[in-house]
Amino acid sequence: MRIHWTAVYVLWRREMIRYFRTKSRIFGSLAMPVFFLIALGLGFRRMPVPGTDGGTGYIGFLAPGIIGMTLLFSSSMQGMSVLWDREFGFLKEIMVAPVSRVSLVLGRIAGGTTTSMIQGLLIFIASLVMGFRFRGPAALAFGLVFMVLIAFTFIGFGLVFASRMKDMQGFGLVMNFIIFPFFFLSGALTPLENFPWAIRALSYVDPLTYGVDGLRAVLIGASSFPVLVDLAVMTAFALIMLFLGTYFFEKSEGI
């Protein structure tokens, strides 16, 4: 199927205009991760965390987790923004456009990834203010790779859910019973090693686990899995979720 790059660009631009026009949304969605950083970062700052002997402290452990959390929430919301467009009628305008459905999905992914990355980077900066230190520019570059993979994965995930739901009713359900468990199971706040084995088994199928672990590996040099394992698993998740998101979006009826 042909890709119409103009359409991808237009959808991306629309997302940018909307994002920067609603400042309240930017700060609103940053509030929770920042509170987590402050409350947990200060509260547990003297707690020893296994596996982080490099003197990074709890903030070193926590910051990659909160960056992952920010990406998780903002990307799944972006994927599910199809639901908002359906609610406000604009989805019909998008669906009658004479461009391939793949272009529509790519446009949404491009817009969603950009806004999620901006959010993630803002939290990254906030953690620096909180005393987070990382291993230098190369670490940041590799960190960005993991951030993009997390964003792709959960945008695809959001698209799948948005295509299966006809209205906003199921939205809260998805948030509470899927997104939040993804967050807590990922080891974003607490080391995986502390979980009992039954819960840890669930953590191993949570994509965010590998995203956060990968971020820790490259940013602070401490992780549960080898970094290449994290990278391979995250890439696989990202590709699968993008494929599924596209597939379900194409299959769903326009309105």
Binding site: R14, I17, R18, F88, K92, E93, M95, S100
Partner: protein, 330 residues
């Protein structure tokens, strides 16, 4: 070539048949109307033709392309103005139009020219930089109509284009739709539940009820099926001779005499009134009052469905309420 060709089109939603085996063709350049109460299946029909819904069975081709197999080609050929606003409120009027024209692949200069053109046309030029969420209902509608035109579609679908608009704006949009059809040659399919709108605008009208077409013809011929105009005469005096004389005229299709008022059905009633008055005088009957009523599409609707469109809508919403309550209980 026909702009639209529909053959045995069906759409069912969870066992409810919204569109029930309709077939019709629309010629290029025609202004075609789908008239019917809410819930008759008009919007579902339009959505299938615009590739937004997949037909359950049957086939439909728009501008020569099959709506199920050749969706992109169909999308390229059509413009659509939806019943419910389909605008992004967080964008300005101009940004909405830019989004649209870029999606349709127009170049930059062409885009700006056409956007300015359509904005002038719907008189929104000075509101172009305002966020659409601040627009009134009428302004949104005008912007949507403008948007449907920017890419010069071959076939334009208008789903209840004047719903909820004030009389002046409605008139304005009517003139515009006509002009577009006659001068630019755009084939237009519009749905409406306003009788006078269908009558005023459409070359041909399909009357739709419960997912089916109950009649399809030009407004004039549809009205002719009722046998013509009704002339009512309020009479005074001895009417026996006059009535007997009238009985011999074969151009009178029906006659009814009730409480001094004589109602006669005939074609071209306005031409017969003088003759009728002269006849009455001849028989020594005084005519106190004459009324001529042209049949409207409302009468046609009544004729074919046995109810007025208003009654039909009332019962339809009753039915929908019943269905919803049914869902609630489950």
């Amino acid at each position: 070539m026909d702009a639209i060709r529909v053959d045995g089109l069906v759409k069912t939603f969870d066992g409810f048949t919204a569109v029930d085996r309709i077939s019709f063709a629309v010629e290029e350049g025609e202004l075609f109307g789908l008239l019917g109460p809410n819930g008759a299946g008009k919007t579902t029909t339009i959505n299938m033709l615009a590739t937004l819904l997949r037909p359950t069975s049957g086939t439909a081709a728009v501008a020569g392309f099959d709506v199920a197999r050749d969706r992109d080609a169909v999308r390229k050929s059509i413009g659509i103005v939806f019943q419910e606003p389909a605008l992004d409120g967080r964008l300005t009027g101009r940004e909405n139009l830019e989004f649209h024209t870029m999606m349709y692949g127009l170049g930059k200069t062409e885009r700006h020219r056409r956007i300015d053109e359509v904005l002038t046309l719907v008189e929104l030029t000075d509101k172009a930089a305002t966020l659409v969420e601040k627009y009134s209902g009428g302004m949104k509608r005008r912007l949507e109509i403008a948007r449907g035109l920017t890419h010069r579609p071959k076939v334009l679908f208008l789903d209840e284009p004047t719903l909820g608009l004030d009389a002046q704006t409605r008139r304005h949009i009517w003139d515009y739709v006509r002009k577009l059809n006659k001068e630019a040659g755009v084939t237009i399919i519009l749905t409406t539940h306003y009788m006078e709108e269908a009558d005023f605008l459409c070359d041909r009208v399909a009357i739709m009820d419960h997912g089916q077409f109950v009649a399809l013809d030009t407004p004039a011929r549809l009205k002719d099926t009722l046998g013509g105009d009704v002339v009512s005469l309020e009479l005074e005096g001895d009417t026996a001779g006059f009535l007997e004389d009238l009985g011999r005229r074969d151009w009178i299709k029906r006659s009814k005499f009730h409480e001094d008022v004589l109602s006669l059905t005939m074609e071209r009633g306005e031409r017969r009134i003088p003759e009728l008055v002269v006849m009455a005088q001849h028989h020594g009957v005084a005519v106190n009052c004459v009324q001529l009523r042209k049949p409207s599409l409302e009468d046609v609707f009544l004729h074919f469905t046995g109810r007025t469109i208003r009654e039909q809508e009332a019962s339809q919403s009753e039915r929908n309420r019943g269905m919803m309550m049914g869902h609630g209980r489950r």
